[in-house]
């Protein structure tokens, strides 16, 4: 089911000591989540992504704006009438019920005409369990399950009513690193098999990048950018999005555009791609720095880390703004590890130029030649 948000706003007013303060958790969201897609809702902690999820779910009422599922306005409907399945961050499995009873719980709630016959109910429960591959755990209690298994039960419980929309709040945050990789593939698989429109909240850009069809990046309640993961990575609309996506982080230099050329620390590194003369932030992806003895950008070499497939060069530069600058190169061949300095040339496709005033991106997508 397609989800449409129209001017969606949620304002919380402070309690107790903070009485009178207003916190805008979700600020004028306008977007459309296409039917049958897996969408990652990405942002730093406290940016309002869980609130947005709760608004879609119906656990919170919007201060302003409308929510549509398909063509139906469901803004004023209670959660149970919206046909959503929700997986909570701590799974919220009922601890005293077996896996089977947890999954059948939503079906047992149905009354009157909607109530399914017993066999049908049982079939649905078994199907859901099979889908998330926990058929052999049906008689266990939640506390006898691992985190990953609990997660699966929670997903099965959310899916058993065959909702039009599946919502997951930080589905992977309680799992250890290995399980996280496994479970995110699981979520992708389950979403593909059921085709249910799925929105999941995460603060981990890698998680969002790896399995989403679309990513929504938000910051302080404001929508920053929505698009396919690769498109957002390659064409971030502003400095925040550029910094938030990508690991290792993008290298941001204090730079300047003069007569159509980009200067970093006085060195003419590349064409500015039509950006007007002004001081700018130059964001260079780690893979956009090419070790090149003839390269224009001279930096101090800190150390070289060889991480299997790639080599990571940690360097320093007077105009660099973050903690540690990093370049990722395919081989260490061109790098003299004992040298004091290292020289780079820049791959223009990996360089993003941002305005210093509003941090919006200035150069065209993908850069334009040298």
């Amino acid at each position: 089911m397609k989800i449409v948000l129209k001017n969606l706003t949620k304002v919380f007013s402070g309690k107790g000591k903070r009485r009178g303060e207003k916190v805008v958790a979700v600020n004028r969201f306008d977007l459309t989540i296409p039917d049958g897609k897996l969408v990652g809702l990405l942002g730093p902690s406290g940016c309002g992504k869980s609130t947005l999820l709760n608004l879609i779910c119906g656990l919170e009422e919007p201060t302003e704006g409308r929510i549509l599922f398909g063509e139906d306005d469901i803004t004023d409907l209670p959660p149970e009438a919206r046909g959503v399945g929700m997986v909570f961050q701590n799974y919220a499995l009922y601890p005293h019920l077996s896996v089977h009873d947890n999954i059948s719980f939503p079906l047992e709630n149905l009354r009157g005409k909607k109530r399914l016959p017993k066999e049908e109910m049982e079939k649905r429960v078994l199907d859901a369990a099979k889908l998330v591959q926990i058929s052999e755990l049906m008689e266990r209690r939640p506390d006898e399950l691992s985190g990953g298994q609990q997660q699966r039960v929670a997903i099965a419980r959310a899916l058993v009513k065959t909702p039009g929309v599946l919502l997951l709040d930080e589905p992977l945050s309680n799992l250890d690193a290995r399980l996280r990789l496994q479970t995110r593939e699981e979520i992708r698989r389950i979403q593909c098999e059921t085709g249910v429109t799925t929105v999941f909240v995460t603060h981990d850009q890698e998680e969002a990048m790896s399995i989403s069809d679309f990513i929504i990046v938000m910051k302080e309640g404001v929508l920053q950018q929505m698009g396919e993961p690769q498109a957002i990575y390659e064409q971030p609309v502003n400095l925040f999005v550029a910094k938030f996506l990508g690991n290792p982080q993008i290298n941001v230099f204090d730079a300047e555009v003069r007569s159509g050329r980009l200067y970093i620390g006085g060195a003419d590194v590349m064409s500015a791609g039509g950006v007007a003369d002004q001081p700018v932030w130059a964001g260079v992806r780690p893979e956009g720095l090419v070790a090149d003895a003839e390269g224009p950008l001279e930096c101090g070499l800190v150390r070289v880390e060889i991480m299997g497939r790639d080599t990571s060069i940690v360097f320093k530069h007077g105009s660099f703004t973050g903690a540690s600058a990093r370049a990722i190169v395919p081989t260490a061949k061109n790098v003299d590890r004992s040298a004091q300095t290292v020289r780079f040339s820049l791959n223009p496709e990996k360089v993003h130029i941002f305005s210093k005033s509003d941090e919006m991106r200035l150069n065209a997508a993908g850069g334009e030649g040298k």
């Binding site: 959660p79 919220a92 009922y94 601890p95």
Partner: protein
Amino acid sequence: MKRRRSKGWLYLLPAILLLGAFMVYPLIDVFIYSLEEGYNSASQTFGGVGLYNYSHVLRDPYFMQALRNTFIIVIITVPVSTGLALLISLQLSKIKKLQELFQTVFFLPYVTNTLAVGLVFMILFKRTPYTDGLINLMISVFGAGPVDFIDGPYAAKMFVMCFYTVWVVLPFKILILTSALASVKKEYYNAARVDGTPKWRVFTKITLPAISPMMFYLIITGFIGAFKAYSDEVALFGTDLNAAGMNTIVGYIYDMLYGNGGGYPSYAAAAALILFAIVLTITVINLMVSRKHVYY
């Protein structure tokens, strides 16, 4: 190794001595007393050993009266007070405004002196030559005749007794249950809401199981407390409980030791052991029931 072990015993010694002298020894002594026939505390002599004390106590009409009173109090007050406390706690946890004020109000009886509360109850219920008492004034509005709750018919006295007991034990139960309810994770309720769970089902399937350990604790301690009732009876009906027909088992034990006809430690010991057997049985039954219905 050996030194360490003896050190451990050394640390335990004070507790062992105190417990031994004031708990274990008296318990064994009570058991022995209960089997000694015709024990005389002055001369420290007894006539023989047997179960005579038990059969005497069980045939004593005062004991049977006390037993009956105790059972009635237990059977009425434990369910009523626990149920009422649950109801009040549920409502308390729902309201937002003045919640703390109400919690304080409901907790006040707990810190009030039992005897003072008893006096207040007497004033509310007692008939004197000058007035019928506040409660009688109130029921006379509905056309019912004045009832003497303190010196009148058995049912009226028992009603006051149970009313009083429930009122006294309620605050502690409310305190325990409100904190138990507050500790139920909100996510469970949110999950239930998304699934459209009817209110009654939320209560029986989520709230009740979640607070079941606390409910169980309250029921067990409630039973034990009610079986040991005595001071509340004194507060309402005075020290001569046999005359009022409102004695309890603990009251009977006290009477046998120190009352008017006191000086019968063997009968008191037998009655105490009978009480112990009853409490033990009830607690074991509780534990067996709880296995099925309490979720930790």
